[in-house]
């Protein structure tokens, strides 16, 4: 626990130092990076015993008075797992940022960025280790705020401002409307803000109560996590932020939402199956739609952002199956579901971090993130290409890398659910499995598109000048890359570490959990065998290829052009584009996506320039939230201006329009004129009417508004009853 405190102190110190060194950007950046790396190491030290030996650090009360009581920290398996995720990714990102941000020093407030990075990491650590509601919420909101400032780094660009705004609003609405009431209800039930009493206090609650709590948590934390349709901030914020920030956002910040959800589940007693079904439906929708939208994007970071939604969907599937297992009393499902979800949290942080950093290197090298203008980068930046490919294989869930392990576990839980005693579990399991399969296929298509278009073939932009990846950036990217491969090849080492987290969420005993986990571990260890086998076969085939070519004395001809099917002068612009690559799939799912296509077809013998442009707007943003906001604004304007149109009333009704206004209009105009804002008479009339209203209501009911059966805990003074005497 002292290690965590040390890391928090280090981060705050780093933030303060960066802020103070605002004139010396390089030093400030260095201070921030150093403190993040140091703090990450401290976090790993703190988390290790918890993960390896399933020991739990006792809750610690800090002698740090906040306005609402003391602060408490605790560390259990779940916290430790997320702590490791945070530490691994943020140290990588910090290292990367040190190199990446050098170029931005003259373009933006880099010291502020360094400071807020420190604050963001500190807030994340606080969120996952907080043991009371106030501290948790402090961390939660600080995290939102810090990442808001980080997103608005390039605030002079219009779309960045818009993105930051959407980020702030969406996240705050999620917090204010759902998370705050959630903690209010929990605190009211338990009579305390201390996390450790929540579980016991909720033990006897009815199904409806737990359902309400769960739904509040799902919407509140789900907004942060990016479940559809609360995801709208995600695809706009990621491209707007500087790359290290995007990586952190996608890698760990959205995981804070998952942490919140899991923490909530750890308090709730066995949930009814319908909650699990809701969770699974959210997982399926997020996963499938996320990857479909990703397929339709042209901006590499936006595309990766949609993939985050997909992966959150996969995590949601795992959580849902875990919940279902809990409600059906099947420990194997619980272990597979929650275990898969937790492992995928770490895995997604690693490979998505890697992909974002690699995409950042592409943008660093070329100055654009529009994949239609890129191409052939594999020859210019081979290391980066290799790392991106590794990340792509991982995120598609393909063996032998880490994505496969967690998807395998989630698949196991989904398929395992199909032969239970519950029809709903069977149906949901089957549907989940199909959607997961579909997600896998679509992700493959998507990353084939990205990698193929960005790194392979010929450069599409005529003047694409790419410079090599700076060594420090490459080094930083190797950390998650090695871990991706490591977890994929040695899952037997890493999967058991998530056990403490699963036990914390499900509230299982060590023995029960051990029994459920044993067969999973046996199978998981087998995966290393096949990874090795695959690698061995690849090597054999490679050698065979070499030997054959050499031994036959045959020639290897290079430096010829690609066979263009007899077309003599192919050019780089004739390559298949990303839009075309994805179009046949998009077209098949057009009823879900509503892609827009702008096509000027070539006509005639000597054709004018023709063009094809595809664009897929986000349905939730365009058709749900934007109209909602506009509608609310309109209603407010109508209230403000006392008219039905939202236009200021007097402008809407012509005062002397030829003198032939109808009586009704005259009446309306008169009333509106009387109510027109800005008149002292109306102000005074408000006082009079308020007075009248108050007294009329008071005389109508002797005790208004105090709900029956909800005693107000104000100590009644001696002799003073609640009786208010007779009416007036």
């Amino acid at each position: 626990m002292s290690a965590i405190l040390a890391s928090l102190a280090m981060l705050l110190g780093g933030a303060a130092l960066s802020a103070m060194l605002s004139r010396m950007a390089r030093l400030a950046l260095m201070a921030g990076v150093a403190s993040i790396i140091g703090a990450s190491i401290m976090c790993l030290i703190a988390a290790w015993p918890c993960l390896a030996h399933s020991s739990e650090a006792a809750p610690t009360t800090l002698a740090w008075p906040t306005p609402l009581g003391e602060a408490r920290l605790a560390l259990d398996g779940l916290s430790a797992w997320f702590l490791v995720t945070i530490a691994l990714l943020s140290s990588t990102v910090a290292l990367y940022a040190w190199s990446y941000m050098q170029a931005e020093i003259n373009r933006g407030p880099v010291p502020a960025l360094a400071a807020f990075l420190c604050i963001l990491v500190a807030a994340l650590i606080l969120v996952v280790t907080a043991a009371d509601a106030v501290l948790f919420l402090i961390g939660w909101e600080t995290m939102m705020l810090a990442s808001f400032f980080l997103v608005s780094f390039h605030h002079r660009r219009r779309e960045v401002r818009r993105a930051a705004w959407i980020y702030l609003i969406a996240n705050h609405l999620g917090t204010a409307l759902f998370v705050l009431p959630l903690f209010g209800m929990l605190a009211a039930k338990a009579g305390t803000l201390d996390f450790q009493f929540f579980r016991a206090a909720l033990q006897g609650e009815g199904r409806d109560m737990t359902t309400v709590l769960f739904l509040l948590g799902l919407f509140g934390f789900g907004t942060k996590a990016g479940f559809m349709p609360m995801h709208i901030w995600l695809p706009v914020a990621h491209p707007a932020a500087p790359t290290p920030v995007s990586a952190l956002l996608s890698g760990v910040v959205i995981k804070a939402g998952i942490y919140g959800l899991l923490r909530l589940l750890s308090w709730l007693p066995a949930l009814p199956a319908r909650c699990a079904i809701v969770m699974l439906v959210f997982g399926m929708v997020s996963g499938c739609l996320g990857v479909l939208y990703a397929l339709a994007q042209h901006d590499i970071k936006r595309l990766l952002a949609y993939h985050s939604i997909e992966n959150i969907g996969i995590i949601g599937l795992g959580i849902g199956m875990g919940m279902l297992g809990q409600s059906l009393g099947r420990p194997a499902l619980v272990a597979l579901g929650y275990g898969g979800a937790l492992l995928h949290v770490l895995n997604h942080a690693l490979f998505k971090g890697l992909l974002f950093l690699s995409a950042g290197a592409v943008m660093h090298a070329t100055g654009t993130g529009d994949i239609e203008r890129l191409g052939g980068l594999a020859r210019m930046t081979p290391v980066n290409a290799g790392l991106f490919l590794l990340g792509a294989v991982s995120i598609c869930g393909l063996p032998p890398f880490n994505g496969f392990v967690s998807e395998w576990m989630v698949f196991g839980s989904l398929l395992g659910g199909t032969w239970g005693a519950s029809r709903s579990a069977a149906g949901m399991g089957a549907m989940g499995a199909i959607s997961l399969a579909l997600m896998g296929g679509l992700a493959l298509a998507c990353f084939a598109k990205v990698f193929g278009v960005v790194f392979l073939g010929e450069p599409r932009g005529r003047t694409l000048q790419a410079h090599a990846t700076p060594p420090l950036m490459g080094t930083a990217m190797f950390v998650p890359a090695i871990l991706c491969a490591g977890i994929g090849i040695l899952p037997g080492v890493f999967v058991p570490l998530a056990g403490g987290g699963v036990r914390a969420v499900a509230g299982m005993g060590v023995r029960e959990f051990g029994g459920a986990m044993q067969p999973i571990l046996t199978s998981v260890t087998q995966l290393s065998l096949f990874a090795t086998l695959l690698a061995a076969i690849i090597i054999v085939l490679l050698l065979l290829n070499r030997i054959l070519i050499k031994q036959a004395g045959a020639t290897v001809t290079r430096a010829v052009m690609t066979w263009g099917c007899a077309y003599a002068k192919p050019s780089a612009r004739m390559q298949y584009t990303a839009s075309s690559f994805a179009w046949s799939l998009i077209q098949s799912f057009r009823s879900l996506l509503w892609p827009q296509r702008k096509w000027v077809a070539p006509v005639g013998l000597f054709t004018a320039p023709s063009e094809l442009e595809t664009h897929t707007p986000d349905m939730a943003e365009q058709d749900v939230f934007a109209p909602l906001m506009r509608g609310a604004g309109r209603v407010f304007r109508m209230i403000r201006t006392v008219s039905w149109t939202g236009e200021p009333a007097l402008r809407a009704i012509p005062v002397d329009a030829g003198g032939r206004a109808r009586p009704a209009r005259v009446l309306v105009a008169g009333v509106v004129t009387a109510l027109r804002q800005g008149r002292i008479h109306v102000y005074l009339a408000f006082i009079v009417f308020t007075l009248l209203a108050v007294f009329i209501m008071e005389s109508l009911s002797s005790r208004p508004l105090s709900a029956p059966g909800s005693p107000v805990p104000i100590s009644a003074p001696a002799g003073g009853g609640i009786d208010d005497g007779g009416s007036k």
Binding site: A437, F530, A552, A554, Y576
Partner: protein, 311 residues
């Protein structure tokens, strides 16, 4: 006894590795027979492979290491998968609970690398082929997984050698008609994945209409040998899964089991050949309909199986 088993396993392994080109040959021979021609020699695919392996290779300026990795990784993934699939006997070399997912994802890994290799050439034709490959591959995935769900829920296992092994034979009565639907779905998946008529025509030479062949236009020499062999191996693996579901064998001696399976495989190849003779390739935009049909078949099977298994 153990020695006998090991020898049998090795023999079976060798047989599995040797069989795929022959199946291709059977398809071609069937088509030739229907067309009233003699067709190429029975061992023509083997000659082709030998020729390719001894030839040099041509690499375009545009390509990178990814281009060369494609065939190798594809074949490696398929070979790894082959250790998990019970091809001829009812046992696979390896197996663990959940290996069915590994098999499916190994196929996907192979596909990814073939597609990337195609994109590496920078040719618009190969890009087109790659696009079609991922499209149809993605769309066949639900049908495949639904079929697997039926098998999993019928045998209560996630190990492929159990799902389509003797346990399925024991459970076939309970599942009943669902298995027939699964066979139909799997047949369509097989035709799609191995790029046969009516999804793709391996014999055509019109670049604009092909899928698989157009992707590998630029490969030559040993690389192309790997690809050709890989395609045949994939046919064998998927075909044997299909046959295990269609004709579940009870647990019996491999000496009976294996020859039976070989005959069945030959029959399957002949059936595919017959299909290729008797119908034309579908228009590309009709293919999703076919795959949707497969998905519906499998979904129906899943509904039957799941409602049946839940008592």
């Amino acid at each position: 006894m153990i020695l006998v088993r090991v020898i049998a396993a090795i023999l079976e392994g060798v047989l599995v590795l040797a069989l795929p080109p022959m199946l291709m040959s059977i398809v071609v021979k069937t088509k030739a027979w229907f067309a009233g021609r003699t067709g190429p020699p029975w061992f023509q695919p083997y000659y082709d492979l030998h020729k390719l392996l001894n030839k040099g290779a041509v690499y375009s300026r545009t390509t990178t290491w990814v281009f060369r990795a494609g065939p190798i990784v594809n074949l490696a993934a398929l070979l790894t998968a082959a250790t998990l699939v019970p091809v001829l006997s009812s046992h696979s070399v390896f197996g663990f609970a959940g290996d069915v997912i590994l098999v499916a994802y190994l196929f996907a890994l192979g596909r990814l690398f073939i597609v990337l290799a195609a994109l590496d050439t920078g040719s618009s034709f190969e890009g087109m082929g790659a696009s079609r490959e991922v499209t149809f591959g993605t769309m066949s995935e639900p049908a495949l997984f639904l079929s697997l769900i039926v098998l999993a829920s019928a045998t209560k296992s996630l190990q492929l050698s159990e799902m389509i092994g003797p346990q399925l034979f024991a459970a076939r009565g309970a599942v009943g008609p669902a298995l027939l639907l699964v066979v139909g779905a799997l047949l369509i998946v097989l035709l799609t994945e191995t790029c046969r008529v009516p999804v793709d025509d391996p014999a055509t030479h019109l670049e604009l209409t092909m899928i698989h062949e157009v992707m590998v236009l630029d490969h030559s020499g040993p690389d192309f040998a790997y690809i050709t062999y890989g395609a045949a191996l994939k046919f064998l693996l998927l075909g044997s899964i299909l046959l295990h579901v269609a004709f579940p064998h009870p647990a019996q001696s491999p000496w009976i089991d294996v020859p039976l399976r070989v005959i069945e495989l030959a029959g399957l190849a002949a059936v595919v050949g017959v299909i290729e003779c008797s119908m034309a390739r579908l228009r590309l935009n009709r293919v999703p309909l076919l795959l949707a049909g497969a998905t519906v078949l499998a979904a129906l099977a899943a509904v039957l199986a799941l409602t049946g298994s839940v008592t």
